[in-house]
Structures are given as structure tokens and as C-alpha cells.
């Protein structure tokens, strides 16, 4: 009886679902974009959305002769909210492709979600946690960009060999993205012979770093700081006020232009600080200048130049468009053709490199070692010291050896 009843309901449900959702005419591709549009990261997340939109605008809003509809959803930096946003896009808006998310743990969450939603192709935005692709990868989750470790490529070697820092202390936020950044720095630095005697993992949002400041060993040559936003400003200010004078090595978001534009005497600590990043706002490369011009003309209300978020969402959008174009919009058989084409895609990035994926569907990227310098008007900017090409996810190391290091954590890697 119950079984019968259930059957009736199921039949009814199917019938109504069929009625209410007529098979979509295949002349439209629906793409969801997930970014952080609320809370402290809202303005950065907005720029990510601009990046994705720019890719579609440049393509005239069409791909393979079909219209593209973009649906934007917000998350709030928590993995839970990213999953909820994705579910709404999948179940309610019936999107074919999802671009996003912005931050590290969100990326891992969407990768896991993608495993149960094979009918949707996920293309990562700017999330840069290593594990999103490196471990437990999902064959419909792609990242056309690097992880936080790749973003540090070249810095460890530069710090040891060019700057001669033999010992470095680490101050970083206590979650997956900084772990990955520290890994990127240390895997090169330790291999080159450098030592990291002490790492300080501070909870994100810490205001008062004074006791960390005084705990930094006296005998280190420099401090590797992987803090973002307010945390970086607070730490650097307090370090400066305490009379600290060790050179700084910056994480990717620590030398962000927003921090260089903040006011305060701490900025003098940053002059000359090397850092690693895939995006340099005033890079002189021809492709970057074109990209910036296109960004500025399309978004006069945007930032003064595209951020790392716009850059990466743009690459995601571009990959989706190129892939769809190659397969002529064929999304049959759970996007089989599209996936194959994404796996083999190659295109020129806004920084002039060639983007392509490795076997884990993670980007092989060009990375920059930069330096904070004082512009003529007294403000600070980043300039490129070195371009490191073809950085893969194992930082050029043997994959098996690299994998053997294990998942990143507070203790891993270690070279005291």
C-alpha cells in the first residue's frame, strides 16, 4: 500500500516536473557564477564577477551560436554558503556550468559537490587551496589557474639565493589558503638550504599581534608574512611600533595594492619586500595592457586595474567559452565532449603565458616574483623581478615525492 502510494506520488511528480520544465531548447547555455558579494570580501568578490562578465562580453554574449545566460550567486566565504549557492544554481536555475568560488575552503566544498553532480561542469574561480584538485580531485572540477603554492613559485629561491636569508620565521593565518602559500614558499626555500625555525599560525581576524611580534626569534633574517587585509595591516603596524626591523617576505595577498594604499608608517617595512603572485596590477606586458584596457572600458565603475580575482574569474570564463566553442555547445552525455576539450585546452592568458591543465585538471601557470617599490609620487607599488614560467602543481618536483610530503597543515612542511 505504502509502496503503491509512493509510486503514485513519484509518477505524479515526474509528470508535473515534465510539464513544468519543458525540455530546454538547446539554444541557450546557462552559466552560474559564485562569488563573495557580502561581508568584508564583497568588493573583491564583485571584481571576480566583473572578470567573468568581461570574458562573456568580449565574446558578445554568445558562444557557438547560442545565447549565454549568466546567473550570479553570492556566498559569504564559508564552504556551507558556497554549497547552498551552487545547489540553488543547479536545482533551481538548471545551470550547465558553474564558475567559482572565490576562497580556498569554498573550493574544496564545491569540488566535493561536483562529484555528485556530474551533469554540471565546475570551473574554479580564484579559490587556491591545493587539495581542491591535488587530492581527491573530481573529473568535472577544473581550475584554470594555480593554487596558493604555485603563486609562491620563485620566491623561496629568490629569498635564499639573491637576498641571502638563511633563516625565516613565518606568520600566517590559520587556514587552508595560507597553509598552501607557506608550502609553496617553504618547498623551494628549504630545498635551497633555508631554515624555518618557527611558524606562527594566528586565527583569522586577530587584532592584537603584539605577543606574536615579541615571540619572533631574534636570529631570523626575515619574516614571511602570509596575512590578508586587516590582519596584515595590524601585524605590520604593531611590528613597526615595536621597533621591528627585519625584512618582510610577502604572501600573495599580503602585498595587495589595497594594503600598499593603506596609511601608516608600517609601509616602510614593505619597501623592497619580495612576494609571489600570478597577477601584477601594473605589469608592463602587452597582453596585460590590453586586458586592463578592456576591463576599464567595460567597467568604468570598477577598480583602477583588474585584481587577482577579476584575472582568475576571467580565465575561468574564457576557458568555458573556448571549450564550448570547440565542441559546438554539445553538452550531451554529461558534458563528455566539453570535459575532454577543457582538459586539452590551451590559450594565452592576460599575463602573456599559455594556460593549460595538468592531469589533475589544475592550471600550469606563469608566476611572478615581485618587489614592493616606492613610486615617484611616494606611493607604493609592485614591480616584477622575475617571471617563473610553467609552474605546475608540484612546483617542478617529482610528483610522487611531492605527494609524499602529505597534505598541507600547520606542521607540514617543516624544516626547523
Amino acid at each position: 500500500m505504502i509502496v503503491k502510494f509512493k509510486k503514485i506520488i513519484l509518477v505524479g511528480a515526474v509528470a508535473i516536473a515534465c510539464l513544468s520544465q519543458p525540455i530546454l531548447a538547446a539554444d541557450k547555455i546557462k552559466i552560474g557564477v559564485i562569488s563573495i558579494l557580502e561581508g568584508a570580501f564583497a568588493s573583491l568578490g564583485q571584481d571576480g564577477v566583473r572578470g567573468a562578465e568581461l570574458a562573456f562580453k568580449e565574446a558578445g554574449g554568445k558562444v557557438a551560436g547560442m545565447d549565454v545566460e549568466i546567473i550570479v550567486m553570492s556566498s559569504d566565504a564559508s564552504p556551507d554558503s558556497a554549497v547552498n549557492a551552487a545547489r540553488k544554481l543547479i536545482d533551481h536555475d538548471n545551470v550547465d556550468i558553474i564558475i567559482g568560488p572565490l576562497s580556498g575552503s569554498e573550493g574544496i566544498a564545491l569540488r566535493d559537490l561536483s562529484k555528485g553532480n556530474k551533469g554540471v561542469t565546475f570551473v574554479n574561480g580564484s579559490s587556491a587551496a591545493q587539495d581542491a584538485t591535488f587530492r581527491e580531485g573530481s573529473d568535472n572540477f577544473f581550475r584554470f589557474g594555480g593554487d596558493g603554492a604555485q603563486w609562491m613559485a620563485g620566491v623561496g629561491t629568490y629569498a635564499f639565493e639573491e637576498l641571502g636569508y638563511k633563516k625565516v620565521a613565518v606568520v600566517a593565518e590559520d587556514y587552508s589558503f595560507p597553509y598552501t602559500q607557506v608550502l609553496g614558499f617553504m618547498s623551494e626555500y628549504c630545498a635551497a638550504g633555508g631554515r624555518v625555525p618557527k611558524k606562527f599560525w594566528t586565527p583569522i581576524g586577530t587584532k592584537d599581534y603584539s605577543s606574536v611580534v615579541y615571540s619572533i626569534p631574534d636570529d631570523v633574517d626575515a619574516i614571511f608574512v602570509a596575512l590578508g587585509g586587516a590582519d596584515a595591516v595590524n601585524f605590520l603596524t604593531q611590528y613597526d611600533q615595536a621597533g621591528g626591523d627585519k625584512p618582510i617576505i610577502g604572501g600573495t595577498i599580503t602585498i595587495d595594492q589595497s594594503i600598499l594604499d593603506s596609511k601608516g608608517p608600517f609601509k616602510k617595512l614593505l619597501i623592497g619586500a619580495p612576494a609571489g603572485t600570478p597577477t601584477v596590477s601594473d605589469y608592463e606586458g602587452k597582453e596585460w595592457k590590453e586586458f586592463t584596457a578592456s576591463y576599464l572600458s567595460n567597467f568604468p565603475e570598477g577598480m583602477t586595474s583588474p585584481t587577482i580575482f577579476a584575472h582568475h574569474y576571467y580565465m575561468a570564463g574564457k576557458a568555458v567559452l573556448l571549450g564550448l566553442e570547440q565542441v559546438d555547445g554539445d553538452l550531451s552525455n554529461q558534458h563528455k565532449a566539453l570535459r575532454a576539450s577543457l582538459n586539452n585546452l590551451e590559450f594565452v592568458t592576460p599575463t602573456g603565458g599559455t594556460m593549460r591543465l595538468d592531469e589533475n585538471r589544475n592550471g600550469i601557470i606563469d608566476n611572478f616574483v615581485t618587489e614592493v617599490y616606492e613610486r615617484e609620487d611616494g606611493s607604493l607599488g609592485n614591480r616584477v623581478l622575475k617571471l617563473v614560467s610553467n609552474v605546475n602543481q608540484t612546483m617542478g618536483q617529482d610528483p610522487t615525492a611531492f605527494r609524499a610530503i602529505g597534505a598541507v597543515s600547520r606542521e607540514n612542511p617543516s624544516c626547523p
Binding site: 509512493k6 503514485i8 506520488i9 513519484l10 505524479g12 511528480a13 508535473i16 516536473a17 513544468s20 520544465q21 558579494l37 557580502e38 564583497a42 550570479v72 550567486m73 553570492s74 559569504d76 564559508s78 564552504p79 556551507d80 554558503s81 554549497v83 547552498n84 545547489r87 540553488k88 536545482d91 533551481h92 580556498g104 575552503s105 574544496i108 566544498a109 566535493d112 559537490l113 562529484k115 555528485g116 587551496a129 581527491e136 590559520d174 587556514y175 587552508s176 586565527p203 583569522i204 597534505a407 597543515s409 600547520r410
Partner: protein
């Protein structure tokens, strides 16, 4: 009321036939799960007279237990048969409830708000910082609902019915509990702690029992939540969800178990669709205004206002009838 209740249950049973998967999963099922959590809060507020901010924590304890003892993608934890995992989850959430009660036993009114808020924040920061059990910031993911008695709970329809059944059970348990001798003692403690002590019932075990029971109910929602979300992290037990739950309880109304569910569906609808009408950027402002409006205009919540309006209408009807009779007689 009971006839209305039956009607609601019947509607809820046949509803899946008429709605899309999204409505089933993300609106109905999610609302009911949140409703169970809110029920554990309204139970404490109505019967023990305390507002607890720790209910999300208690649900989180159950959720983390399930995550730890189920297959997941973090490489942490031990796999157990799902029934064991559920039993452990409910046991831990009940014990955690008792623990909260033991700490907060002397606190009433705003003090109980403060102390439970402190407990929930301590738990939140602990989960965020601890990687060996809770996997810190990222938490657990890749958890799937089990195959129970030959049916897969991963199927959204099956899961919906399981959730509905759990909610009915939770509501039934609350009603049964409140009319049990222990439940009566709980209400006695609320109304006159001193008198309850005077007739020889010590209040501490009664208070702890009430919190423990609320932990059990919250645990039910925690288990279902982790199965539905397929993940849990420190964000799931942070200040945001804690305040959301309070908002749900308040907008629904605390006097009747049904209020928790009405609050939950209202909240979920706002959460899901208001952003489509307005901009996502100002979502919090809208939530804040709705909360402010309901707290100011309808202190008893949506259900409370509805019930008192109904009462007024009935009274008005009665009066009208009386007047009519009187007029007729006079003529």
C-alpha cells in the same frame, strides 16, 4: 488546532508530487531541518523560560559526530555502521545538552542568553582551531546520507519523508515530554523555582534534564543537516547560524511547536528568494528589518499573531451573534 495539524501533515505528505526538486530539497527539507533545531530552542524558552544560544552547538555536536563516524573526504575519523553513528550522535548531543544545562543551571533571563552564547562561541572557536577531530576551518565534506533499511536516504524524496517523520517525532516527543511528570516539573521550575524546591523536587536535575532533552531534539536536526548538506564545518556552528536560529524561533513564535517550523520556512523563503527581488548586497539589511518588524509588531511571532487574530475574530463573531440575538429579542 489538532485538526489543523493533521491537515498540515497531510498536505506535507502529498506536496512533493507538485513541486520541483529544488523546492523539495532546498526549501521544504531545509526548512523542516531548521525547524527541528528551532523547536529545541522554543521548547527551552516556552517551558523552562530560558533563551539558549547553544542549540546550534548541540546540533553541531551531533553533526560532527556523524561526520567523524561516516565516510568523508578528509581522511579523519572512523567508519561505523550508520545506526551506530546516529545513536552516538544523539547520545553526544544529549550529553552536551546536559553539560550546557549544568553550567547554565543557575542562570535565567539575560544571563542564560549570555552564558549559552559564551558556550557556543567557545565551541565555535574550538572547532575552527582543532584539526585532529574537527578538521578546523574547512571541516568535513563528502559525507553522504546512508542506505537505511534498503532505501537510500540520498534520494531526495526519501530524505524528505525521513525528515518529515523526524520532525513529527520531534514534535510528538516535545508534547509528550511536557505532559510527563518531568516536563511538568520543568514548567514548575520556570514558574516558581522556589516552590518546586519546597515540595521536595531539586531543581538542578530538572533543569539539566530539560537542556539534555533539548540537546536530543537539536541533535536530530544536526544529523539530518549534515546528511543534507553533505558537509559540516566551523561555519555551521558560528555566530551566524546561531543568530539565524534565534531569528527563526522569534519570527515563528515560541508558544507552540508549530511556530518553529513556520519561522523556519519563512526564513528559508526570505533567504532564498528575497535576494532575487532585491540585491544580494543588502540581504542582511532586509533580514534585519524583517526581524525588527516582527519583534516590534508581532511579539508572539507569526503563529502567535495568527492565533490571537483568530481568537479576536471568534470573539468578534460571538459578540456579533450575541448582539443579533439581543436585537431580535428586543424587537
Amino acid at each position: 488546532m489538532s485538526r489543523t495539524l493533521l491537515l498540515i501533515v497531510v498536505i506535507l505528505i502529498i506536496l512533493p508530487a507538485f513541486i520541483s526538486d529544488f523546492w523539495l530539497n532546498q526549501i521544504l527539507t531545509r526548512s523542516i531541518i531548521l525547524g527541528i533545531a528551532a523547536l529545541s530552542l522554543t521548547f527551552l524558552t516556552t517551558y523552562l523560560g530560558v533563551v539558549s544560544f547553544a542549540q546550534i552547538t548541540l546540533a553541531g555536536v551531533a553533526g560532527y559526530t556523524i561526520a567523524y563516524f561516516s565516510p568523508n573526504t578528509t581522511g579523519l575519523g572512523i567508519e561505523l555502521p550508520w545506526l551506530f553513528a546516529v545513536a552516538l550522535a544523539l547520545l553526544f548531543s544529549t550529553l552536551a545538552g546536559a553539560f550546557v544545562g549544568a553550567i547554565a543551571k543557575k542562570s535565567v533571563g539575560i544571563y542564560s542568553i549570555m552564558i549559552t552564547l559564551a558556550i557556543s562561541m567557545a565551541f565555535f572557536y574550538f572547532t575552527r582551531q582543532n584539526y585532529s577531530i574537527f578538521n578546523g576551518w574547512t571541516g568535513f565534506s563528502g559525507i553522504t546520507a546512508p542506505v537505511a533499511f534498503g532505501v537510500s536516504l540520498e534520494d531526495s524524496l526519501v530524505f524528505y519523508y525521513a525528515t518529515l517523520l523526524s520532525a513529527t517525532a520531534a514534535g510528538y516527543l516535545v508534547v509528550k515530554f511536557t505532559s510527563s511528570p518531568l516536563g511538568l516539573a520543568v514548567q514548575g521550575v520556570k514558574d516558581a523555582a522556589r516552590r518546586v524546591r519546597a515540595i521536595g523536587i531539586p531543581t538542578t536535575p530538572v533543569i539539566i534534564a530539560a537542556y539534555a532533552f533539548s540537546g536530543f531534539i537539536a541533535g536530530m536536526s544536526g544529523v539530518l543537516n549534515v546528511w543534507q548538506q553533505e558537509r559540516i564545518s566551523s561555519f555551521s556552528v558560528g555566530l551566524g547560524p546561531t543568530i539565524d536560529l534565534l531569528i527563526i524561533a522569534v519570527i515563528g513564535g515560541m508558544r507552540h511547536p508549530l511556530g518553529a517550523f513556520i519561522g523556519a520556512i519563512t526564513y528559508v523563503l526570505i533567504d532564498t528568494f528575497v535576494i532575487d527581488l532585491f540585491s544580494r548586497d543588502r540581504f542582511n539589511m532586509i533580514i534585519g528589518l524583517v526581524l525588527l518588524f516582527i519583534v516590534m509588531a508581532a511579539p508572539q511571532g507569526i503563529l502567535g499573531s495568527f492565533l490571537s487574530a483568530q481568537k479576536r475574530i471568534r470573539k468578534y463573531d460571538n459578540n456579533a451573534i450575541k448582539r443579533k440575538i439581543k436585537n431580535d429579542c428586543e424587537i
